[in-house]
C-alpha cells in the first residue's frame, strides 16, 4: 500500500521557487493558523476516507502524525485545505473568513501570488 503522507510530498520540488517550499509552507500554516483569533483547533483536512488511510499508514510506519493543514500542488497552482474548530465567542463565519485572509496573505508573502489556485476552509466545530 502506498503511503498517502508520502504522496503528499510528491511535487514539492516544482513548487515555490522563491521563499518556502510546500512542506515548509504547510508546517508554517499549521503554526500560524492556530494563532488566528477565534481558531481553537485544527483537524485533518483530507477527505474522511483518505484521512483514515493516512492515519493507518502513519501508525504502521511509526511516522509522526501528519499536519492537519493540507497544501496540494498541481500545474494550476497550490490548493490549501483547512478544517477548523472555532470559538463560540466570535462569529464562526467571520473567523472562517479571517483564516482565509491569513492563508492568502501568508502564501502571497512567501510564494508567488499566482500559485494560489484555491483555499478551502471548513468550520467543523463551533464552541
Amino acid at each position: 500500500m502506498s503511503d498517502p503522507s508520502q504522496q503528499e510530498d510528491l511535487g514539492r520540488d516544482e513548487l515555490v521557487d522563491a521563499g518556502l517550499d510546500r512542506v515548509e509552507l504547510r508546517d508554517n500554516l499549521n503554526r500560524v493558523l492556530r494563532e488566528v483569533d477565534g481558531v481553537t483547533d485544527l483537524y485533518d483536512a483530507r477527505p474522511t476516507a483518505l484521512a483514515a488511510v493516512t492515519a493507518v499508514a502513519t501508525r504502521l510506519t511509526g511516522r509522526p502524525p501528519v499536519e492537519p493543514v493540507v497544501v496540494a500542488s498541481s500545474r494550476e497552482g497550490l490548493t490549501v485545505s483547512v478544517s477548523l474548530a472555532v470559538s463560540e465567542n466570535l462569529p464562526a463565519a467571520d473567523t472562517c473568513r479571517r483564516v482565509f485572509d491569513v492563508v492568502h496573505d501568508f502564501v502571497a508573502a512567501h510564494a508567488p501570488e499566482d500559485t494560489l489556485r484555491a483555499v478551502r476552509i471548513r468550520v467543523s466545530r463551533i464552541g
Binding site: D41, Y43, D44, T48, A52, A55, V56, T58, R59, P65, S83, A85, E88, P91, A92, A93, C96, R97, F100, H104, L116, R117, A118, V119, R120, I121, R122, V123, S124, R125, I126, G127
Partner: protein, 205 residues
C-alpha cells in the same frame, strides 16, 4: 501512542470508530472512569469532539433526573436515553457542506452540517430545565439563501412551563444561528416530546 484504551483496557483504534464502533459507548467508558478521553481520539475527527461535548452536557442534565425515571427505560433501543444518545452520534457526523460567502474567486469557505447541528444542540441544552433530543436542518443548506427550517425536539423537566421553555429554546437556537451562520432560517420549530421528573435534593444525596 497510536491506540487508545477503553475503560476495560481494550485497545481502541480511533480510525475504526466511525466505521463500526459506537463512539458514544467509548466516550461513556472514559467519562464513567472520570478520565478525559485521549487527545488522539478527539483529534481524529471533529465528530468525536462534537459527540463528547453533547455527551458531557447530556450526563450533566440527566444527573438531576430521578433514578426511577431513567430506570424505567424499557429497552436500550427504545427508551428516550438511547434515542438521544443515538441522535448525538448521528448528528455529529459532518453531513452536508454549508457555503459561506467570500468575494475572492479562489475562496471555498464552508461550515459542516455537523458543526451547525452541534451549535443548535448546545444552544438548546443551555436553556435551564431542558435537554435537546434531536435537531434537523430542513431545506437545501448547500444553496445559499435557500429557506431553512430548524426542527428541534426537546425534553423538559417536570414543573417547567412548557410554552415558555419552548420559546426560550427557540430564541436561543435562532440567536446562535444568526451569530454564527449565514443560513436563511425561516423557522425554528420546537417540539416538546418528553417531560422528566427532577431528582429532589434528598434523593440526590
Amino acid at each position: 501512542m497510536t491506540h487508545s484504551e477503553d475503560a476495560g483496557g481494550r485497545s481502541v483504534d480511533p480510525v475504526a470508530l466511525d466505521a463500526d464502533l459506537d463512539i458514544i459507548e467509548v466516550l461513556t467508558d472514559y467519562l464513567d472512569r472520570g478520565v478525559d478521553p485521549p487527545r488522539e481520539l478527539l483529534d481524529g475527527s471533529p465528530a468525536h469532539h462534537l459527540a463528547l461535548d453533547a455527551l458531557v452536557r447530556f450526563r450533566r442534565v440527566t444527573s438531576v433526573l430521578l433514578t426511577e425515571d431513567i430506570a424505567a427505560e424499557p429497552e436500550r433501543d427504545d427508551g428516550w436515553v438511547a434515542t438521544i444518545l443515538a441522535n448525538i452520534h448521528s448528528e455529529a457526523r459532518a453531513g452536508r457542506s454549508i457555503p459561506l460567502a467570500h468575494p475572492s474567486s479562489i475562496a471555498d469557505l464552508s461550515m459542516s452540517e455537523g458543526a451547525v447541528r452541534g451549535l443548535v444542540r448546545a444552544a438548546g441544552d443551555a436553556v435551564s430545565g431542558t435537554l435537546i433530543g434531536a435537531c434537523r436542518l430542513e431545506g437545501d443548506v448547500t444553496d445559499p439563501g435557500a429557506p431553512i427550517t430548524v426542527a428541534v425536539e426537546a425534553s423538559v423537566f417536570w414543573g417547567e412551563r412548557i410554552p415558555a421553555t419552548a420559546e426560550h429554546i427557540r430564541a436561543a437556537v435562532e440567536s446562535a444561528l444568526l451569530l454564527h451562520t449565514e443560513l436563511n432560517v425561516v423557522a425554528v420549530n420546537v417540539t416538546v416530546t418528553d417531560v422528566h421528573l427532577r431528582r429532589t435534593e434528598q434523593e440526590g444525596r
